[in-house]
Amino acid sequence: MSGPTDPRHAVGFFRLIGVTPQALEDEPVAADTHAPWFPAILLAASCGLLLAALAANRHRLGQPYAVEMFYGAVAVMVFPAALNLILPHTSRTDRLASLMALTAGLFGLRIVRAPLFFVDHDEYLHWNMALDLQEFGRLFLIDTLFPIGQNFPGLAILTSALTSLSGLSVHAAGLLILFAARLVFVGSLFLLVERLTASARIAALCCVFYMASSTFVFFDTHFAYQSVALPLMVFLFALEARLRDAPRREAIVLLAAAIVVLGAISITHHMTSYATAAILLLYCGLEIGRGGSFQQLCRLAILTYAAVVFPLLWSSAASTSNSSYLGPLLANGLNDLRAIFQFEMPRQLFTGSDGEVAPLWQRAMTLGSVGLISLGLALGFFKSLAWNGARLPSRGRFADVIVYLAARTRGRQVALTLLAIGFPVGMAFRLTSSGWEIGNRITPFAFLGVGLVLAVLVAAGLQGRSRSLWRAAPVAAVAVIGVIGGIISGEGRLVLVPARYLVSADAASVEPMGIDTARWTKEWIGPRHRFAADRISRLLLAVHGRQQVSTTLHHGYDAGLLLTAETLGPNERDILKRLDLDYVLADLRLTTGRSLVGTYFDGGLSDQMLDGPPSARAFLKFNDIAGAHRVFDNGHAVIFDVRAVR
């Protein structure tokens, strides 16, 4: 009879919470270059891409079931690849090739969505930066649209190099860079996890489950700094994992390479460089805790020191402070989060700022995805923490088992697993209206842990050594739900470019007429004039018209007030004068509906004073102002020359 003092109880407890370390099934040898399923998976990815292209075209024409067809295309891509990666007997080469085919297919979705030019808000900010660099050949220029971005020019530098050497446009060069970065990301994640777990299967599954991140398919393939910095970060961790046990000569070169990569990350993206430093510090703490060798500790310490110092050095070299940019974001998010804990819901879920609610199936898919991931985390978290390829002792006291596990557990794997805690934190932030951006920033890092936990759960638990397709199919279906749910929660209803213009809706507001108007300004009045305009028009004016647009972020004055005021009073004239404006662009379409993203201008006073769409009368008040000339009109957009008024 066993009682509470029976030492076997401790082992039973660990088994209960999912800690069942076990030897991995016999994986095919790494040298096996046979990839029998890769062609079929590549074909499935291509068919999915074709289906997605048809769906995108249907959506542009306003035909029904386009969005459903698009998500069907995603399922066609993900399901066969996930199935192949779940099965234990798939060779490493087949896993890698299938994974790359899936990665390329999913990257193709972002091209299918916007094949002619970049369409998203952040992409325009970086596009403008790249054009400035191309035009002036210098970094750290004054950028009124995106002041902080000038201090992190990694992506703009890469684009400048490729456009200069290839003669390609910024758009084409940008796509090539993003595709390379995407391959680096998935490839590095595979190599990192493979090295940590000694399992190509867990590595490949980790990559597939990572794809369920809401930022993976679209946000992290935007022409924006994080799309390059994140792959470099994962590559750095893969380098570090190799550096740990490398012979001396190789270690020196690897350490030098890792420091170069760290430098590049610091130059490219602030958040990623901070996250890199934080994860390396966690590595250090765990390594010290488990008493790693002095040599290994030294290598890690050098790298961690560089990761902490480089962003600080770069910030001081570029004379930038990110606190003014990130600080308010964090403060507002935390305030909203506090409201949630007081049972107030600051944001209506699945409802846009214009009041439109997402379809039921999309809500179900997103909730299903979050629910399944949460369940997977609950079942697999401790399994992944303790997973080390060895069996639990048959008996032992609580402390003995902890010591046993701690001695065998790999510190880096524990660190990555702990990142999964970021998933519920990110989800909580996503429930808030001002903190969703923080949630969005946490997600790519948290999913490094989520992917690993789910992969360990599947490889060492749900599927195990079974070769049964019937057992693998539900897990592959979960991967499909995860990826689709991730896309829905990341992009919402703007996953495809709609048939009709939507008011202040970023990608859904960028259309040929607006671009045509911006190009007109460059052709007929010349570049570098100072413009006041709304949130979308100023992106178009900056990129396609090469104009200087006014923003509250740079100038400290809200030009939106000038547009929304019913009359041109002394305050408005003061704004005209202080901003030294040459032209005002009034897009009358803004007066026809509510903004989808919640703001028409900068989100400042002009937006806060509006309780509905701005009035057309206010936009057209310059018609009656002596000295203001209406120099352009197409029935939707009007440009006023206000040089004589200021």
């Binding site: 590549l42 048809l54 090539l176 860079i177 470099l232 009709r500 018609n623 009109d633 029935g635």
Partner: protein, 244 residues
Amino acid sequence: MTQALSMVSLVAPLADAARALAAAALVLALPGYLVLSLADTARRLSFERIVGSMAGSLACTILVGVLLNRSPWGLTSTAWWFAIGLPGALCLGALAVSHMRRGGFRWRRPRVSQSAAIHAAMIVLAVALAGAALALARQGAETHREYAYTNVWILPEGGPDPTSVVVGIGNEEQAERLYDLEITANGATVLNLAGIRIEDGGQFVRSVPVPRDMSSEDMIVARVFLSGRSDLVLPPSLAAAGGG
């Protein structure tokens, strides 16, 4: 001559594509490959080497860019050619020579089994389908035009004391249109043109002298009508520009 031109038109896109591919290799693969070659003595092109080459290249190019910014040349095309293009090409040449000395490139005819042939056919089909998907999406985006509209503009010419104004009409109505144009100065008609035919995507531009007796307070107004219709294409008084 015609044959030569058609040859050029055929070869030019291929040359552009070759240049783009070479540049992509120089920026996105070669620098990292060379760095990793220093660490890894194994010459085998492994997956790890490929990923490392690409990531290393991204990182190296970023750092080179920062250094170029400190140089007097900046990040210009010429500077990039000297910083990455030329060294990369030289290193490629050196690698090729080294490889040739160690036995050169030997082409081995692969043994093609039936399943391998089927796999190859599937891969070719997949690439073709992906290409078709991208072409289809491109074509769909190019032909998608929600709005049919007419751009009308009026701009002063001749500096601060304009001697004339430029009036333009841009037809984006997705079909050929006939327009009537009326320009008035302080209410008096200066120009009246009827039946201006503009094809879809085309423009009509006319320079109109400013009457000598106009001051900067006076207004020149352009009105554009669709021919045969009394309603205006655009809201009433389109634009105004002062005289000298």
